[in-house]
Amino acid sequence: MHDAFQLVPVLEQLPVQVESIVVTEDGVSVRLIDTKKSFANQAIRQLEVIREAGLLVSLAEDVVTLYSLQTYTQKMLLKSTKGAQMMTVYTGVDHVDGIPVIVSKLAVIVKKKLIVFEWRDAQFTDNKEFPLNEKIRSFQFSTSNMLILSTTKEFMCLQLSRGQWIDLLAADAASLRSMAKPQPQGTQQLPTSQSSGSGGGGGWGSWTMGLIGNAATGSPNIVKMPDEELLLCREDIGVFISSAGKLSKNHDGPIQFSSTPTCITYTPLYVITTQSKNDSDGAKRHNVVVQNIVDHSIVQELDLQQETPLRVTNGGNGKQVWIAGANTIWHLFPVDIHKQVEDVLQICDFEQAHNLVTKAENIFEEDREHLIQKIQWLQARWLFREEAEYEDALGMFSKLNATPTEPIALYPKSISGDLAEEYDNNLDEGAKDDEKDLSVYNDKSGTKTPTRPPSKGTQSEPSNSQKSTKKRRVVWRDGLLSMMRYLTEHRRRIQKAFSNNEQELVYLVRITQNDNEDIQDLPDVPPVPKNPDREMRENNFAPLLQFQLINVPINIVAMAQLVDTTLLKLYIECSPSLIGSLLRVKNHCDIEESEALLLKHKKFKELVDLYHGNELHRKALQLLMEHGQNKESVDLYGTKALVNYLQRLPASLFDLILEYVSWPLSYHQKDADASIFIDGHKESVEMDQDLETHPSTNHIIYKVFADGRPATLNFPREKVVSFLSGFSPYQIVCYLEYAIDEWKDTSPSLHNSMALALLQIVKDAIPKSPNKSIDITDPRRQKLIAFLKSSKYYSAEKILLNLPAENLYEERMHVLARLGQFSKALELAVFHLKKLSVGEEYCKEYVEKCENIYMLFLTVLTGDVPADVPQPRPQSSQASSKKLQKLLDNECKKRLNFSLHLIASYPSHFPLGQTLASLPPNTVLQKDFISYFKTQLRLQSQEQRETAILANLGTVERFQLRCRLKELQEICVVIGDTSVCSHCLKRIGKGVAFAVLPGKSQPIHLSCWQRRKNAEAKAKENKPQISFPNGGGFKQSAN
């Protein structure tokens, strides 16, 4: 219940008795007939006004008289109404031949007939009569064309145009009570009656069932209601019907009065009745009862003391309600709308509050909107706090465009932080504490939140203690998830604003009078404009509505920070696996706050993402180092996470990368990785090791320096190499393989580094004991040799310096080849390595680079032993000296034989003269030497023949050219005064370049020809003979 009206006596202690009262639409004043004493001789039974026709209609002395509304002078006595019992009027817009016309009607019951008078646009037009069979108790127009009437037994309607009667329903209270309720869950408890079970919407037919002639007491009554509806009453029950005579769906069933009303009227929101009852001391008391028009709940009762109300009436379609007693006239003065709203909000009837505001009179549109916003705002809060309808509550906030701070503040401190409202026994704690009696939560609602009315308790969820903690927790999780969705939507909105380069977003913000803390928490919020006038007015009322909602532009960055940070907190609470996602995408999470939160919840992996997103790389790397070494760490133990992080850094942070890659690289230092010498090692390095906590050194090098992402391509490679040289040559090789093989780097320094690193590996592999070498088939040597052979960019001199003197001759030979020192290389093969076949292979390999390499080999084989070759020491004894000589002779012989073998095998590479000259004179030529001679002779004769052919061909060509020249020289063109260009047909003047095309006798300007040539297809076969004056084989005219 709340106070909808104030009862204000307007006129008291009237000297005369009020018999009738009528209120006009502008009815500020009450027109009291009695003040005009001569108005009527007897009591006026009824008064009506037909404003549109300017008439005051009075029913007195059983006749209807029309008076002027302005002067109250009699205009006309309707004689036909002699014997009138009652009357009713109607004014509305009717369409006559399609043209809207204001139609006013007056219906009068005269004895056994009904007379209807009609005015159109203030002009009297017509009257009609209808015979009546029964005594009419009450009647009203429902439309201009339809009258609803009641006898003691029945309600019926009369179609005026056709004069057709239709029975509506029985006019006894029981039948009305049995009316099917349009909304079965109506809160008004109606006593059950015989046909209460016939659910939904029933037609008229179903209620005529109830037509059992109960001894009817009182008489049926028909009363106008708002929105063209009528209320059909009998005793203490009333049924709403629409203007079409159908049961109205706008109400929760029939209206039940606490006692039979004496008078009934309405406002848009209420049904107002006067009722009388006996007081405890027996005195009769009169009450004005205000009931909600929809759910019929009693809103207010006003005491009229003991004066009997005679009439209740309203003006302007329910805008004003007047009550006339015998000597007093009261005005039912509507209580200020804010106060009314406040009252219904106190009982959480938001729907009613909304209705009140939408239908309220005397309120500025602007105020109405603001009030509706405030109601919705409160409703959203209430849905959240009291009903646990989080999704709906947040949806309402969204619709209102409320600042996200408002709903966030409803959450416990763990989520809302400093925004948290003081609120006892918040859900979060409730969810955590199983033992706690959660009903406390609902009972102890904060002062700002309205409590639920007991009367509506049946509708609300069973909030008191039945709800298990578990269920509560599930519901609370819903609350968190709803908020998550709410915030992601906001995030999207903010993102869009960012992409449109907006600086601010406008939100609806709540400002309470006492503290503006809510928005002061947000930076960059402009000072709140105050409206003292409004505040004054609202100051008079209870605190519920004591706040303002204003649109405030809020800095978008501040809002983004709030939204993202809160989202992060929600994720920590109920969806931890999304934390990483949020921190990896572009976000505005507050760094310090997020850092503290993540540390508190031990979300180190996510903390790394936070650092990365904010470019706090050193902090991230430090964290990764610490956790990488900590075996307890769940996600981050090992070097892998650190390596992965390094992979995400740009090339500009190269120094930082070097600083932090040292630890992962040195982790496996002991077992230097020889896998680089296995075929296909790259693939295995790149793929397989991703699952281990401590990836192999090579894998780290690949991932950090060489996986082909843009950063790796931009690293200073020499610096990488010099950094890696601090570890081991294996790592240099591993890295340089990518640089040289994949990225085709040709810089000499890298190739040098590669060669030296490979050499270092080989050198390290040479056994320390003297005279022992490493086998040529060793993969390490193979790799080195392959590189020395394939790379064109290393500096041979530098490598030579680093090659050991008494070892690795093969490598040296290939380096020498780079310098073109083939003889030297072959000497190495013959005298140091003493493997003549190696020399042969070497010749095969380099014969394309050096044509006479075989001859060089032969020279080495047959020549003297060079001085730098260590000779076996001549020993003192004669015998051994002899032995030595023999040995030398043997070797010499071996070399000679090999020479012959070479000559026989590669005869074409040994020119006859030189070869024979370099063989020792005493060489015995074997039989197979014949084939060598044959080959050589054949080669020479072939050469001779080829030369002869070439010479003859040359002669022929020369002859042909001469003939051609002669032919061309015979063409003669004479340029005279009349010579014109074949192209432009202009004269070929003196000193102008011209041309004659082969086969044509007409000259052409050189420029014309060039122009034409350009215009035509580019590939032109016929080349012109170009000539300039005085030039070539053309004869020029003498002028």
């Binding site: 992409s499 696996s577 992965n644 790149e686 793929m687």
Partner: protein, 190 residues
């Protein structure tokens, strides 16, 4: 022999295609649903979906594929329906390194907006499109893409060409299967 078709309990499974603009999301759709391809590029605005019935493990499944705008300025419309998706297909162009690098971002944004119940096991599929372009222009090797998929918990990876209809059918078939399995699992969980 008539195939004994069973129908799947859920009316349709929803698949969302996301990825940078110009990687060929719309073309993949067109190829799969209409077997058509056009060289012309027209940016998708907002989002659009096509659906058809396909057979997955004896189930008749209506697959509903949402094509989304890759360009940021057209995106605002196209995120609301992320929430109901059964499978998310991350698309990139194998000849455009950047489109591959932004997969991480697409995946994270999707997870945030969709907020699935079990983000770690939400089914993603990666499609590397435009493999018809000559090998020398290729910027993202299969190896690299697969390594990425592996690092995200073994996301299935397909290389397709919407132009030459290479592997498009297979990829969508697999996507449908994954989505159905997800849905089944979800129902079981319920």
């Amino acid at each position: 022999m008539p195939y004994n078709k069973k129908s799947f309990s859920k009316a349709s499974i929803i698949v969302v295609l996301i990825g940078d603009s110009g990687v060929g999301k719309t073309s993949l759709m067109n190829q799969f649903f209409n077997r058509k391809f056009t060289e012309q590029y027209k940016a998708t605005i907002g989002s659009d979906f096509l659906s058809k019935e396909i057979l997955v493990d004896d189930y008749v499944v209506t697959i509903q594929v949402w094509d989304t705008a890759g360009q940021e300025r057209f995106q605002s419309l196209g995120v609301a329906f992320y929430r109901g998706a059964d499978c998310c297909v991350l698309c990139f162009d194998v000849n455009d390194s950047k489109s591959f690098e932004s997969l991480d971002n697409w995946r994270d944004e999707f997870l945030i907006q969709a907020a699935p119940q079990d983000p770690e096991n939400f089914p993603f599929v990666v499609i590397g499109n435009k493999i018809d372009v000559e090998e020398s222009k290729r910027m993202v090797s299969q190896k690299r893409a697969m390594a990425w998929c592996q690092s995200k918990g073994g996301i299935p990876f397909f290389e397709t060409s919407a132009k030459e209809a290479t592997k498009v059918e297979e990829a969508f078939q697999a996507i449908a299967k994954i989505a159905v399995e997800q849905e089944k699992e979800y129902e079981l969980y319920k």
